[in-house]
Every structure is written in structure tokens, then in C-alpha cells.
Amino acid sequence: MQDDYFDHEADIGIIGRGKTIEECFSSAAHVMFSIMSDLSDIHPISTFSFIFDEPNVELALVTWLNLLLAKSNAKNIIFSQFKIIRQESQWIGEASGEQWNENMERGTDVKGATLTMLSVKKINDEWEARCIVDV
């Protein structure tokens, strides 16, 4: 699926889409990390797990994206593959990627996912997640 964005004057709006809410969250993560590099060149060498509890699906999206950013920043890794499942209010995720190296394309760092223009909704048969990320 093609990465999709929407305009914001200072920052960048991201759009994730999927047949399920989980696919939609994975897609949103892919779209966000694509701001930082060309993810087709990033290999899934290291994998990290995430678990969190959040009953509100919109806040869950922001929490998921910010957990990914925190781990990638702390480990100096760029993630390119994402999986997440929901079990009631609990979310269990996984992200894979590799350490930044000199040969990788450098885009723009994402500082955090915000609550601005945040929405997670089902439109016809597809889930769509949106928010502004601060760059």
C-alpha cells in the first residue's frame, strides 16, 4: 500500500490504512518511519516487542507510534516492518529494523506523534488512522 500524508503548515500529517485496525496501525507506523528514510532499503535485522494497555483506540495509536519512536531513538535503529494485535484494551506489537549506517538515505527525524487531527475510524470496509507528527 502506498504511504499517504496530508498537509500541515509546520509538521506532517500521516495516514495509515488497513482492512483491520491492526493493519491500519502497522501502516501508520510505516508511513511515519518513511519520513526518516527509504524503508525498502532497511532490513529487519533486529526485532523489538511492545506491550501497552489503552482502551481508547485513538490514544492507542499515538501511544504505539511514540513507543516506536522512543525505542528507535534509544537504540539508534530505523524500523521498517511492523505488527500489532489487540486483545481488548491490551496491544501487543513488534517492530523490526536495523542500525542506522552511513549508506542509508536520511530523511527528516520525527520527534513525536501528536493528538492533533487524531482520528481512527472505519470508512466503508477500511480502517483509517490519522495524526500529525512533529518533525
Partner: protein, 473 residues
Amino acid sequence: MDLSRVKQIDEFKWTVADKELPILFYGDKDLISGLDEKVREQIINVANLPGLVGNAMTMPDAHWGYGFPIGGVAAFDANAGGVISAGGVGFDISCGIRALRTNLFLSDVLPFIEKLADSLFRAVPSGVGAGGNLLLTKPELEEVMQEGARWAVKKGYGVLEDLDYIEEKGCIDGARPSYVSDHAKERQLGEMGTLGSGNHYLEVQVVKQILDRSAANAFGLTENQIIISIHCGSRGLGHQVGSDYLITLAKAAEHLGIQLPERELACAPILSKEGQQYIGAMHSAINCALANRQIITALTRSAVSKIFPKSHLETLFDVSHNTCKREKHPIDGKIREVYVHRKGATRAFGPGHIELPKNYISVGQPVCIGGSMGTGSYILAGNSSESNQAFSSACHGAGRKMSRRQALKIWNGKELIKELANQGIYIRTKSMRGVAEEAPDSYKDVHKVVEVTERSGLARRVAFLKPIACIKG
């Protein structure tokens, strides 16, 4: 913005037309008409927050942000139920500009400008995924959060004199590292002394024009002198504090019964448990930012001395533009203590202010305004509170006029670098995307923004600085 939705008060002040709200937009007709409608919506939301003192304001460089508009200023009284908002500070807590005054002149530097750009690019890690060469232990990071730039100087990054020319003398009180999450701390261990990306930069500039001779003398500025400016913030720790407390304060607002028109305004009463925790964490991030710019200052000095062994770089001033600070201001004839949010706005203390270094006290605080890598930057001086009625605040830059996505459609990083080199501006970067997003024409006209800043009484122009080399994050 549709001008029928605002009402002009005087040449440079406007308010909303259809409601009686304590709101001021600073700008001339062109700047106000160029504002996105969202700026109006966002500042109306700010004006409706509990405990607001005076007006909620936008500076002349305002643009659409999240929660508060960028260029937003608002003060709140803790004892009147006033709030502190994570959306009023932003993710890059204490992002700011450190300007370094050098003993070098254009004629010294021009023959070696590309060599100097290379040396700075090697010395200061920049861009996404670029870790620093300094790896902190957790106890060291605790010290950084408590001591700010003083920690960096203690460790040999810079000299004691630098501290006199940093807001709060390099260390803000009230940092509470225990309120900073482990995620935030983990993010910072390898990030000290790094520039980051986006609109951050390390720029070699030449003083092209002096506009206020007496203030320029006080600031030690003269024509053709080389200035080096560092624009960056608190890096991963600040970003994580922003992320963590956005959720915490949004939930706090809900259970404390504060109606938020936009969740990003996430706030809590200043005196609440959550409010105090955020202030403790945010001040820890401010200290991180001050230490970060101090370390970059030392790296810059070392890089410059490799090309110019007799160079001497002094801190002209270091000022943040994403903060909330407790300050005293004259309000309705009385001095009141308020919490001033400045999101993309610079503190600009006027002459005589007790916190100014003694050699600046007669002219006011230096206010460092970053333009774009193609146009230039300004040093302004703060005005007295009779002239500046915005809680001693001024603009922080030119302000974007176009989204990053639109900029990417128009410009190509490589071509832009070539074009700027033809104009005598040498760019060093790891991110062609970043350069395109930061294209000079994606920003408002910095000359216009600072002219309006001056004519509206917020601050006065002292010097115009033209870039000759820029390390883009």
C-alpha cells in the same frame, strides 16, 4: 486568514471580530491575511483556557501548530486556577538559538569557507540517526537534568563566562528528573552534543548590516564580523517528555473537568499533582537543551580552531523559544507572578531587567531570530514592558508559509544546494529531503517579520546576519 474575521486595533495589532475574547494577533495586513484559519481557531482555544492573564497572543511569525499555534504566547496565574499545557510548549522543549560572536571577519573566513563548513559538519553530529560521541551514564544524565549548561562547563565543554550569557545562567530551577520517564532518559544517553534535524542548523553568518549602533556595541557586533549560530533543543529526552505528558495531561484535564476544545491543548492546573510533575519534567528537559547547546558550542570552538588557530568564540546569548517559565510581569499596575508559555516565541527582556548580564543591561536582551538558510537571521534587542505588552516576548524566526509536503513537491535538495552555493552559501547535510523541506521560499519574509516585530514595539532590530555556510540537520 479572512480579514473579515479579525478586527484591527492599531497598525500592528488585531483581535477576533465576532467574539469578545482577550486575543491579540501581532502583524500587518499582509502577515495577518497570510495566516492559516487554523491559527485563529487555535488562539481562540488558548484564550478559553482557565486562569489566562491578559491576552492570548500570536507573534508576527505565527503559523498553524498543534495545540497552541507556533508563535503563540499566553500567561496563566497559578493562584487563579491557571493551567500549564504540554501543547503550549511543544515536543522540542527549550529549542532555541545560541549565537557565538567571533574575532573573525569575512575576509579571514571567505578563502576557507568550504573547509570550515566541512570541519563543522564533521565535528557536530547532525540529522536523523546521528548519535553523539558522548555517551552518558544514567547518573550523569541525572546531573545534566539538574545542572544544565553548568554540568557541561564543569566537564570541560566551554568556559564559565558562557554561563553569564545563557538564560537562567545556564540552569533552570525546579527540575525534577524523577518525573522524567525511563523511555525519555534512555533516548538521551547517546544524544548529547547532537543537532537533530528538521529546522535545526549550525550556521556561519556574517554581520551584513548594523541597525542599532549602540545596542550592537553593547553586544560586541560590528560589520563583516563572523557569527556562528546553533539552533537545536533538548533532543530525545525533550521529545519524550512532550509525548508522555501530552497523554498524561489530556487524561488529567478530562478527570479534572477541564473542557478541551482540542485534545492537543492537554493541560492541568499549575498547582495540581499532574501540573507540578510536568513542570518538573519540562524543566529537566530545559536543562538538557541548555547542556546540549553548551556541548555543541565547545565542539564548534574546536572545529573552528582547526582552521583558524587564533579564533576566539564568545557566547553572545543563548535563548530558548519553546518553554513555559514562571516570571514576574507588570500587569494592571501591579507586579504579578505568571507562567508564560512561549511556543515558537522568544523571551525578550527589556533594558534594566535584573536577569540580564551587566554589559547588556542598558540596551536589553539579545533576541536571536533565525530566518532561513538562504535569506538570513537577525539579532534584536528586547524592549521595556511599556513598549512590549506581550510578557516580554517576540517572534522566533520567519515562520513557515508552506507545508513540508508542498515544499518537497517544488524543490529538490541537490539542486537547491547548488543554487545556494552559487549565491555563496555552502550547505552541508546528510538529508536532501531535509534541505528541500527547508527551502528558503517555504518561509515567510524574515525582513518583513522583524520589521513588524520592531514597529509593533516587541523588540528592535540590531543586526542583520547573512549565512555563508550552513550545517543542516
